[in-house]
């Protein structure tokens, strides 16, 4: 059996097992169970982390604007899917809002309630992604000319500006100003999230393995050399930025689904930092690393390590030590240790199937030695 074949089989088995596990969780546990909630949140983070990795890890553009693009995606999803009948109560301060249609209802009109609703929701996610991509294109025109840390701070600034705009009362009829958007349809089970994020991440992986992906990596490794090889720097950087933002926008829409309410407040720079740190834990330049790290991070912070905050952990009861915030303090120490001493993160720049490589390479070395 060739290595390639082995890898494919390995990947398929892992993915199938994950999907099966998720379906089982969905079938056995009610949708409000903490496990389901955590899986939903982790998949959303996985998608956003993967999109950030595409930009920061594979193209070498250090951008901190992820929260802004997620904000766009989340709002687009909410605004387009709130049922018309509920708009009056959601937009209570803005006379029912300016937009009087809802994508799921439009699609339900000719596809039936079930299918149409889902198609409408997906369409709204897509619109969110496209809006984020468009915004990224516009922002990218001036900003992508900047060097690494200036780019970081400029994108951070853009995210903050975007947040102020969405909270502006003059845009209230669309964004509901500072008030929450709610009552929009969501998936209550975890499987749709896993499938949706899985497909998106697969697309990101395909992109990375295409000629574009190789061009991105060339830019990351050496801009000047890449340009000398005939890679159009500006075009490829813009492309990476736009694509990454597209997925961040979709991730934002899914985040909105998960949260059940949308406000601009959670989409602060601290969200971007959190995602960046997940990418670092997983390994800059490894999509599977980002996914694994998201699950590890969300599972432990939202569920498994909650005991650290509430006085009892591992059967040890120490209310004085295990008080509010201890969980995050422990977490940030772990993150610093990873940043300083395990800079490659969990996966380095390898993907999951590459783990099979090691033994093979050893064999080859031995063969070469002979």
């Amino acid at each position: 059996m060739t290595m390639q074949k082995k890898k494919t089989i390995f990947t398929t088995v892992v993915l199938a097992a994950l999907l099966a596990a998720c379906v089982i969780v969905d079938l056995t546990l009610p949708s409000f169970h903490i496990a389901v909630t955590v899986i939903k949140k982790a998949t959303v983070y996985a998608l956003v982390a993967a999109s950030m990795n595409l930009l920061n890890g594979f193209t070498g553009l250090f951008s901190l604007g992820q929260a802004g693009f997620m904000l766009l995606g989340a709002y687009a999803y909410g605004v387009l899917t709130i049922p018309v009948a509920k708009r009056a109560s959601v937009y209570q301060y803005f006379d029912g809002g300016a937009i009087q249609f809802s994508l799921p209802e439009i699609f339900a009109g000719f596809l039936g309630d079930g299918v149409g609703g889902v198609v409408g929701m997906l369409a709204a996610l897509l619109v969110g992604g496209i809006l984020a991509a468009l915004m990224a294109y516009l922002i990218g025109l001036p900003v992508l000319r900047l060097k690494s840390d200036y780019l970081a701070i400029a994108t951070l600034g853009f995210a903050e500006i975007l947040r102020a705009f969405f909270q502006w009362n003059a845009l209230g009829p669309i964004t509901n100003g500072s008030n929450l958007l709610k009552s929009y349809p969501t998936f209550s089970k975890a499987t749709p999230y896993v499938v949706l994020a899985g497909v998106m991440i697969a697309v990101i992986l395909l992109l990375i393995n295409s000629t574009y992906g190789r061009a991105f990596k060339a830019i990351r490794d050496d801009e000047v050399a890449a340009e000398a090889m005939g890679i159009n720097l500006a075009r490829h950087k813009r492309l990476a930025f736009v694509i990454s933002s597209f997925f961040a926008g979709i991730g934002g829409g899914m985040m909105a689904m998960y949260m059940g309410t949308i406000a601009a407040a959670p989409f602060k720079s601290s969200l971007t930092y959190e995602i960046l740190l997940i990418v670092v834990i997983g390994g800059i330049g490894s999509i599977s690393g980002s996914v694994i790290a998201s699950f590890l991070y969300i599972f432990s912070s939202e569920w498994l390590l909650r005991g650290l905050d509430s006085g009892e952990f591992l059967g040890i009861s120490a209310p004085g030590l295990f008080k509010n915030g201890f969980r995050m303090a422990v977490f940030s120490v772990i993150i610093m240790v990873i940043v300083l001493f395990f800079r490659r993160g969990i996966m380095g720049d390898k993907e999951l199937p590459d783990l099979l490589d090691r033994r093979e390479r050893k064999h080859k070395k031995e063969a070469a030695g002979k």
């Binding site: 102020a164 740190l277 201890f326 303090a329």
Partner: protein
């Protein structure tokens, strides 16, 4: 004009506070080419230390202690989080800075229990009210810009006329050559962090005497804005950072005075982007050529 006067007064005071933080950014960036994301959090920690210290001892002991604690923190951050990464790519350094910021915030969160700590009038004299040209304000509003300018003059003297200052300039100009010329680069870098933290501590004390509480996120916004000020003035240049900070402080308050309060924060970032795109070297920055 008379109506706008209180806004100007306030703007200059806010600008002075930004200036004290901005210098920390600009010094570190000048030498390490690193945006020290943790600097705003150092500023916040100084405020927290002040809250705890002034609650248990008289202020003439507490305030030097605040400065000392902040300086030690700044020094430790450099030694622990940045020194091991000296030869690593710049992205790692920046990630480390974000990690430190995350760490400090979470530690502060743990210690304070996540609730803003009330500041109880730590330095009585400077928070009294005075009236200038018909505008009522606190004494600290007047003191801040004056103190800022005095400190900056002292700092500029230090950099231009002392041995360590010369070493700092040399390191900023060319890191490796400076090392080859026998400059103890680690000592110089530690010194920059100490100076930066010292000024942040002073800024923090002035800033938080005006406000009733220190929250763990208090450092974030002033930190980012001070960084914008440093970029605006030309990163690496101390007079630039100060001028940039005063301009940003003034603009912010005037914008509030004109009624566009929603965008007072957004304006600062818009200014940043415009500056970066039009004149990346800022007002006083030196032109840097890229070496391949």
């Amino acid at each position: 004009m008379q109506e706008m006067f209180p806004y100007f007064l306030n703007g200059i005071s806010v600008g002075g506070q930004y200036a004290l933080i901005a210098i920390g950014y600009t010094l570190v960036y000048g030498i390490l080419r690193l945006i020290n994301f943790a600097h705003g959090d150092v500023f916040m920690v100084a405020g927290l230390v002040m809250v705890y210290a002034t609650a248990s001892m008289p202020f003439y002991i507490a305030l030097p202690l605040v400065v000392l604690a902040t300086v030690v923190l700044g020094f430790l951050i450099e030694r622990v989080a940045y020194k091991p990464l000296r030869s690593a790519p710049r992205m790692s350094l920046m990630i480390s800075a974000i990690g430190v910021s995350y760490l400090i915030q979470n530690m502060a969160f743990y210690i304070t229990g996540g609730v803003p700590q009330p500041v109880s009038n730590p330095i009585p004299w400077i928070s009294e009210n005075v009236t200038i040209l018909g505008a009522s304000t606190k004494r600290v509003t007047i003191i801040t810009p004056i103190l800022t300018i005095l400190l900056v003059v002292a700092l500029v003297y230090l950099i231009n006329h002392t041995k360590i200052g010369m070493a700092m300039r040399a390191a900023a100009k060319d890191f490796e050559t400076a090392q080859l010329m026998g400059i103890k680069i680690n000592k110089v870098i530690s010194m920059t962090f100490i100076i930066g933290s010292f000024l942040a501590a002073v800024g923090s004390m002035l800033y938080f005497t005006n406000y009733p509480s220190v929250a763990i996120t208090s450092g974030g916004m002033p930190g980012l804005k001070a960084f914008v000020a440093a970029v605006f003035g030309g990163i690496g240049s101390i007079p630039g950072a100060v001028v940039g900070a005063f301009i940003i402080g003034l603009c912010e308050e005037v914008i509030k005075g004109l009624g566009y309060t929603t965008f007072s924060d957004a304006f600062t970032f818009a200014l940043l982007i415009v500056v970066l795109c039009v004149k990346p070297t800022g007002l006083f920055g030196e032109k840097v050529t890229d070496k391949v």
